[in-house]
Subunit: 338 residues, 2 copies
């Protein structure tokens, strides 16, 4: 199936020097994927030429004069920069010229502009940010990761439907299990919102596993983990911090003296295999789920390898029709409730 | 300074076979520490005899016939088991026979009984659970870890005061820095409670750093990290899950074949040094902070080495007068507000 992806080429820490090579790399693997590269025309032409793709008809350039800064307030990006590469890329999804948009830019701005331009799917009050994380068993999907700091039980139910349909579509798992992030497995645990959400989930027809705790994320207890954006964001960033600390410790211990450095040489192939396995770049690309269009947020510091994975997520979501499935499921859900 | 610690010897996964040896081990390092061992007399006598400490006058046994089960509802432990080792140990703190209590038992029950028997310090509405975590720079203290699922801004301020006085006392750091766990550094981030808490903290006279994010915990950005119990519990358990997954991965990669196992042998001293450094047993012992008495919760699965660290925390909190400092600070705080 032909897919056209709009790339916000100027977003992120590295801009076009990462986004364009990533798109070209993906185009080599996926001949039926087309790209609209959005940003400063001269810069994008140069990047295409550098990679020998200047004459590849699958790439078109859409000139955009502005760039949303990484620390720019979302409201200013939304109101003040109508010709930013981010805004133009999202507009292309709205107009139907592209089916998905990928950006490594400012998350808050991307969410604000996407919501304003694309609106949410029927039955969805708020979009959520979903990402994949590695687990002992494989991987899991967790949402929301920070789009919504105050969630009602109904919002958590909507996140569960979206996460469930995402996994069902993209991973072809018919009834993915859904866990509700809490501070204990028992029903009496947690705050009022979480308790109410558990009741809604039990009645939802989803494959609801019940409450899960923080350690269940990496145990891979469920296919989907649902939580409010405050908790999800803290869980994700805490993980990043811990992983970084352990990396530092491991490097320090192996670098301590000549003997440990020799041991590091011997252990290098194993350490590399370990590193590959936990390489967060393979998990790059969070879905802004619940919008009328596929929008994928890449990590701002992504390199071309990581950004390519974000593109891959966008393409998979389009090809497997995630958004249609969410819409259908929400309609069925509301019929049951009515 | 002489300190008497009451040990709930029957709590935790291993009971007296861990708690008594840990107490004996600590008594060898700290001659002016006395212990009241609470539990089944015959069992405790046997454990003392096994370790050659039967005639050591620093150990007394207080017979208690019941044990709080690890999965027992707190209310049932509180109302139904007046002669549990946990309850009797806490009663000893209340009566002044002991200055601190250490238990590896059921957290919910320990909190409920401690709150009922000891009450909270003046100015403190709710006790919080605080623990130490390793960081790139050293370590940090985080609270609350699950005692309070719904916190007001005032509660978060009280946690900050308690955490700050804990670090000031035990680590002799005059003005420990305090971070408020949030999903962004900017003031506009987070939910209403967190925003209000930030305002209270700015006006509090504490050394308030501002908002911190999840990764700041392990970066060691601040000496104290304050959050509500839901978020803190998820952050802690998520960390445990991630650490466990990375251990599994590392073991799998080093165990893959003969070559990698040979590499593991060569790297063993380094891996052991790494393991020592992240050994969570050294961080065992969470403070139930804000009660009129020192109560330390050990991990249920603690071994004697880990439990000894929990005892050490108890002794340090008594000797450095943490609770007096919290009381004084709260009184000063309330004078400012009045």
């Amino acid at each position: 199936m032909d897919v056209t992806v709009a790339i916000d080429c100027m977003g992120g820490d590295h801009g076009a020097s990462v986004t364009v090579p990533a798109a070209i790399e993906w185009s080599r693997r996926d001949p039926s994927c087309r790209f609209i590269l959005v940003g400063l025309e001269a810069v994008l032409q140069l990047e295409l030429a550098k990679a020998g793709a200047a004459s590849d008809s699958r790439f078109t350039i859409r000139h955009a004069t502005e760039v949303v800064a990484m620390d720019e307030p979302p409201a200013s990006a939304l109101r003040g920069k109508k010709d930013s590469s981010m805004r133009v890329a999202i507009d292309l999804v709205k107009s139907g010229e592209a089916q998905a948009c990928v950006s490594a830019g400012n998350t808050g701005a991307l969410m604000a502009i996407s919501r304003f331009v694309l609106k949410t799917l029927p039955g969805i009050d708020r979009p959520a940010i979903a990402t994949m994380l590695p687990t002992v068993k494989g991987h899991t999907h967790i949402l929301d990761l920070g789009a919504n700091v105050d969630c009602s039980a109904e919002h958590l139910l909507q996140f569960a439907v979206m996460g469930s349909e995402l996994v069902a579509s993209v991973e072809m798992k018919p009834r993915p299990s859904v866990g509700l992030l809490n501070i204990g497995e028992e029903d009496i645990k947690g705050n009022e919102t979480v308790k109410q959400a558990a009741e809604l989930l039990r009645a939802s027809g989803l494959n609801f596993y019940g409450n899960v705790e923080g350690d269940d994320i990496y145990k891979g207890t469920t296919d989907v983990v649902v939580c409010d954006g405050f908790v999800g964001n803290v869980a994700l960033k805490t993980s990043e911090g811990l992983a970084q600390m352990l990396r530092t410790y491991l490097r320090e211990e192996f670098g301590r003296n000549l003997l440990t450095r020799a041991a590091a040489l011997v252990a290098m192939p194993v350490l590399k295999a370990f590193k590959r396995r936990v390489d967060h770049r393979r998990y790059n690309g969070a879905s802004l789920l619940g919008l009328r269009g596929v929008v994928i947020k890449s990590h701002g510091s992504a390199d071309a390898y990581a950004f390519r994975h974000a593109i891959q997520h966008a393409v998979e979501e389009v090809r497997t029709g995630v958004l249609d499935h969410i819409t259908q499921r929400m309609a069925a859900q509301q019929k049951v409730q009515a």
